[in-house]
C-alpha cells in the first residue's frame, strides 16, 4: 500500500492536450474518485497511473518512487476495467490467478489468495465457471477479485459500474466500499457518475477539460463548490443558476434578480461578500432543495416569492417543481403535500443561507470561506 503523487502531469496526443498539468496527492489507504464529463481527462489520468499511457510531461510516483518509465507490470497496481476485460477462455479462478501464475507464485499461495479473495467477494461457488456463464454483477466481482489477489499497492477502477443496470450499480457500489474498508488499499476510481463519486470517495477530484476543478471531501464539494462547473456537476437535480447583481439597501445587502424581485442577503453571507463590487452582473447559484414551498413561520434568511409552475415531477418523497424566472428555468423541491399545480402560481421560499454567488465570466464561486 502506498501513496500516489502526480506532479504537473501532462498528456498530449499529437496536438490535443488531454491532461493539462495535474497535481494530485493521494494518501495511503485513501479512496479517491476522479469524476467529470466524458473527455475531461479522468480516464487518461488513470491510464497514466496504470502505465498504459506514456506521460508527456510531469511525474507520477507510487509509494515514493517515480514510475514514469516503469512498465505496468512492475508498478504493483491492479486495474478493474469498464467491460471487466475477463479472459473469456479462463475460469474465474484462472482469471484471478493469471497475474500470479505469470509471476510464478507457488501453487499453494495462489490457491489460498484466490480462495480468500473469492470468499471476500462472495463468489466461491463460481470459481470454476467461465465468464460467459456469469451475470454482469458476478463478472464485476471477478474483475475485482483479479485485482485483490494481486495484493497491489494501488487499485485502479475505470468506470467499473457503467455496464451494470441501475439497481445492480447501487449494490456493487456498496460492495466496492465494503471491500475497500476491508483491504484498505489505496484506490483511484474513475467515473462520470457524480452519485458514485459522492458515495464512494474519501475525496473527490472533479475534472474538466484536462484540469482539476476542485478536490475535496464529498460534502465539501456539495456545499462549498469552488466553480460553477463543480456546482453544476455535483448534485441532482443540478444547481439553479440565474443572473443577479448585488446592491446596497441601507446597511443591508440585497441580491437583485429582477426589477421587481430582490432578496436580502443574511448577515453571515453578507460578510463574505464585502469585497464584491456592487451593481455588477453576477450569477446566483441555488440548489433545488433550497427552493421550497413557503412555510407559515418566517425563518431567518428564507425569503418567500411567487412563481407560476411550468412542470411538476412528483417523486414520492418530494415533488420537483419547475418554473421560469428571467428566462432561466429553475427547479425547486417541495413537500408532496404542498399544492403544486401546473399553470398555477405557487408561493415558494428561497433559503439565502445557502446561496452561492459566482463571477459571471470565470464561473468562480465568490467569497468562499
Amino acid at each position: 500500500m502506498a501513496e500516489v503523487n502526480l506532479r504537473k502531469v501532462v498528456k498530449r496526443y499529437d496536438d490535443v492536450e488531454a491532461v493539462r498539468g495535474i497535481d494530485l496527492d493521494i494518501a495511503d489507504h485513501e479512496f479517491i474518485v476522479l469524476v467529470g464529463p466524458s473527455g475531461c481527462g479522468k480516464s487518461t489520468t488513470l491510464r497514466m497511473i496504470a502505465g498504459l499511457e506514456d506521460i508527456t510531461d510531469g511525474d507520477i510516483s507510487i509509494g515514493g518512487d517515480v514510475v514514469n518509465d516503469v512498465p505496468p507490470k512492475d508498478r504493483d497496481i491492479a486495474m478493474v476495467f469498464q467491460n471487466y476485460a475477463l479472459y473469456p477462455h479462463m475460469t474465474v479462478a484462472e482469471n484471478m490467478s493469471f497475474g500470479l501464475r505469470l509471476k510464478h507464485y507457488p501453487k499453494a499461495e495462489i490457491k489460498s489468495r484466490v480462495t480468500e479473495a473469492a470468499r471476500l467477494l462472495d463468489i466461491t461457488d463460481l470459481i470454476d465457471r467461465k465468464p460467459k456463464q456469469l451475470s454482469g454483477g458476478q463478472r464485476q466481482r471477478v474483475a475485482m477479485g483479479r485485482a485483490i489477489v494481486r495484493n497491489p499497492k494501488v487499485f485502479l477502477f475505470d468506470e467499473p459500474l457503467s455496464n451494470l443496470d441501475a439497481k445492480l450499480r447501487v449494490q456493487m457500489r456498496i460492495e466496492i466500499k465494503k471491500v475497500h474498508q476491508k483491504v484498505r488499499t489505496t484506490t483511484v476510481y474513475v467515473t462520470h457518475d457524480q452519485v458514485e463519486a459522492m458515495t464512494l470517495a474519501d475525496r473527490v477530484v472533479v475534472m474538466n477539460k484536462g484540469r482539476i476543478e476542485q478536490i475535496g471531501a464529498p460534502n465539501e464539494l456539495y456545499h462549498n463548490p469552488a466553480t460553477r462547473f463543480v456546482a453544476g456537476f455535483i448534485g441532482s437535480p443540478a444547481m439553479n443558476f440565474l443572473p443577479c447583481r448585488l446592491e446596497e439597501a441601507g446597511d443591508k445587502l440585497n441580491v437583485r434578480l429582477t426589477d421587481r424581485l430582490a432578496f436580502p442577503v443574511p448577515p453571515l453571507r453578507a460578510a463574505r461578500y464585502k469585497n464584491i463590487p456592487r451593481n455588477e452582473p453576477l450569477v446566483m447559484g441555488i440548489r433545488p432543495e433550497h427552493i421550497t414551498e413557503a412555510r407559515p413561520h418566517a425563518e431567518p434568511g428564507v425569503e418567500p416569492f411567487d412563481a407560476v409552475l411550468d412542470v411538476t415531477e412528483p417523486m414520492g418523497m418530494e415533488t420537483l417543481v419547475y418554473f421560469t424566472l428571467e428566462g432561466a428555468q429553475l427547479c425547486g423541491r417541495v413537500n408532496p403535500n404542498a399544492a403544486a399545480r401546473v399553470g398555477a402560481a405557487m408561493r415558494l421560499a428561497v433559503d439565502l443561507n445557502n446561496v452561492h454567488l459566482l463571477n459571471e465570466t470565470s464561473g468562480v464561486v465568490l467569497g468562499r470561506p
Binding site: 507490470k73 476495467f81 467491460n83 476485460a85 475477463l86 479472459y87 473469456p88 477462455h89 493469471f98
Partner: protein, 303 residues
C-alpha cells in the same frame, strides 16, 4: 341466412388471420422447392462421382442408365487404394498440406498480432499490402515463379523443379496473406482492455499472444487452418507447372495425368480418384462447417 353469417363470422376471421400465414406457408413451400432444385444442382457432380465410382468398366462402356448402378462394385476403390502410385499422390498431398498449414500459421499469427495490436511505422500499409497480395491469383505468377526456381537450380545446383517440396515454398504465397488477413480481423475484434489487463497482470507481448490472444481467437485460428489446408489440397496450377515425375505429383494433378492415358479414359477409376481427392476437404467441412463459413465470410470484412 342470418344464422349462417353469424356462424361464419368466427371462422372467417380465422381465415383472414390464416391467409397471412397461408402466404407464409406458400413462401416456405416455394423456398423449399427451389432450395431442393439448387441442392440437386449442387450435389449432382459429387453424386455422379459416387455412382460412377461404384461401376465396373464393363458397366460404364455398356452405356446403361448412367444414373443407376446395376452391379455395384468396390473394385475401383480397391485398385486405387492398393496402387502405390495413388497412395504416393495422397501422401504427397497430405504432407504438403500439413506442412504448409504449419508454415502458414507460424508466419501469419505473429504477423497478424503485430499488425492488429502493435502499431508501428508502416503497419497500416503492410496490412493493406497483405490484403492486396491475397487478391493476386496464382495464374499471374506461375510463369515467373517457375523461371525463378529454375534459375535457383541453375545457380546453386539445388534442384527444386520437379520436386514435391518446392510447393512448400509456393503454397504459402496463397495461404499466408489470407490467413494473416482474417487473423488481423479476429485479433482486432478482441477488446483493447483484454490486452491491457494482460499487461497489468504482467504478461509480456509474447505471453499476451500465446496465453490470451490465441485462445480467445481460436475460432479464427481454426478457420485459417482449414482454409490453408483446403487451398493447399486443392491447388492445381502450381503442381501442374512445377512437378512432372509421377512420384512427385499431388492428388489432383496425379489423378488427371496418370488416370487419363491418352484418349483412354478409365472413368470408374477417375471418379473414384476424384472422390477420394475431394474427401479430406469434405470431411473437414462436414465436421467444422461453422468455422469454414466463418472464415469464408471473414475474408471480405475488416474485422
Amino acid at each position: 341466412m342470418s344464422t349462417l353469417t353469424i356462424d361464419k363470422s368466427g371462422p372467417r376471421r380465422k381465415v383472414k388471420y390464416g391467409s397471412m400465414s397461408r402466404d407464409r406457408v406458400w413462401a416456405l413451400r416455394w423456398s423449399y422447392f427451389f432450395l431442393t432444385l439448387f441442392a440437386i444442382f449442387s450435389l449432382l457432380p459429387p453424386i455422379y462421382m459416387l455412382i460412377t465410382s461404384l461401376k465396373s468398366s464393363a458397366e460404364i462402356s455398356a452405356a446403361t442408365n448412367p444414373w443407376w448402378v446395376y452391379h455395384p462394385t468396390l473394385s475401383n476403390y480397391i485398385e486405387l487404394l492398393t496402387s502405390n502410385q495413388f497412395l504416393r499422390f495422397f501422401w504427397n498431398s497430405a504432407i504438403i498440406s500439413v506442412v504448409v498449414v504449419a508454415i502458414t500459421m507460424l508466419i501469419s499469427v505473429p504477423a497478424a498480432f503485430a499488425l492488429a495490436r502493435m502499431k508501428f511505422w508502416g503497419s497500416a500499409t503492410l496490412a493493406t499490402g497483405v490484403f492486396l497480395t491475397y487478391l493476386i491469383p496464382d495464374s499471374l505468377l506461375f510463369i515467373p515463379l517457375f523461371k525463378m526456381f529454375a534459375l535457383v537450380g541453375d545457380w546453386t545446383g539445388i534442384q527444386l523443379i520437379n520436386r514435391w517440396y518446392v510447393l512448400l515454398f509456393i503454397y504459402p504465397t496463397l495461404t499466408v496473406p489470407f490467413a494473416t488477413w482474417i487473423m488481423i480481423g479476429y485479433f482486432a475484434s478482441i477488446p483493447k482492455e483484454l490486452d491491457e489487463a494482460a499487461i497489468i497482470d504482467g504478461a509480456s507481448w509474447f505471453q499476451t499472444l500465446t496465453r490470451v490472444f490465441i485462445p480467445v481467437a481460436l475460432p479464427g485460428l481454426i478457420a485459417a487452418t482449414i482454409f490453408a489446408f483446403t487451398v493447399s489440397w486443392a491447388q492445381f496450377l502450381y503442381p501442374l507447372v512445377f512437378t512432372t515425375s509421377t512420384d512427385q505429383l499431388v492428388m489432383p494433378v496425379g489423378i488427371i495425368t496418370t488416370l487419363i492415358k491418352g484418349d483412354v479414359f478409365n472413368w470408374g477409376q477417375i471418379m473414384t480418384g476424384a472422390l477420394l481427392g475431394a474427401a479430406p476437404p469434405l470431411i473437414i467441412y462436414a465436421f467444422l462447417m461453422d468455422y469454414y463459413i466463418a472464415g469464408l465470410t471473414a475474408g471480405a470484412t475488416k474485422g
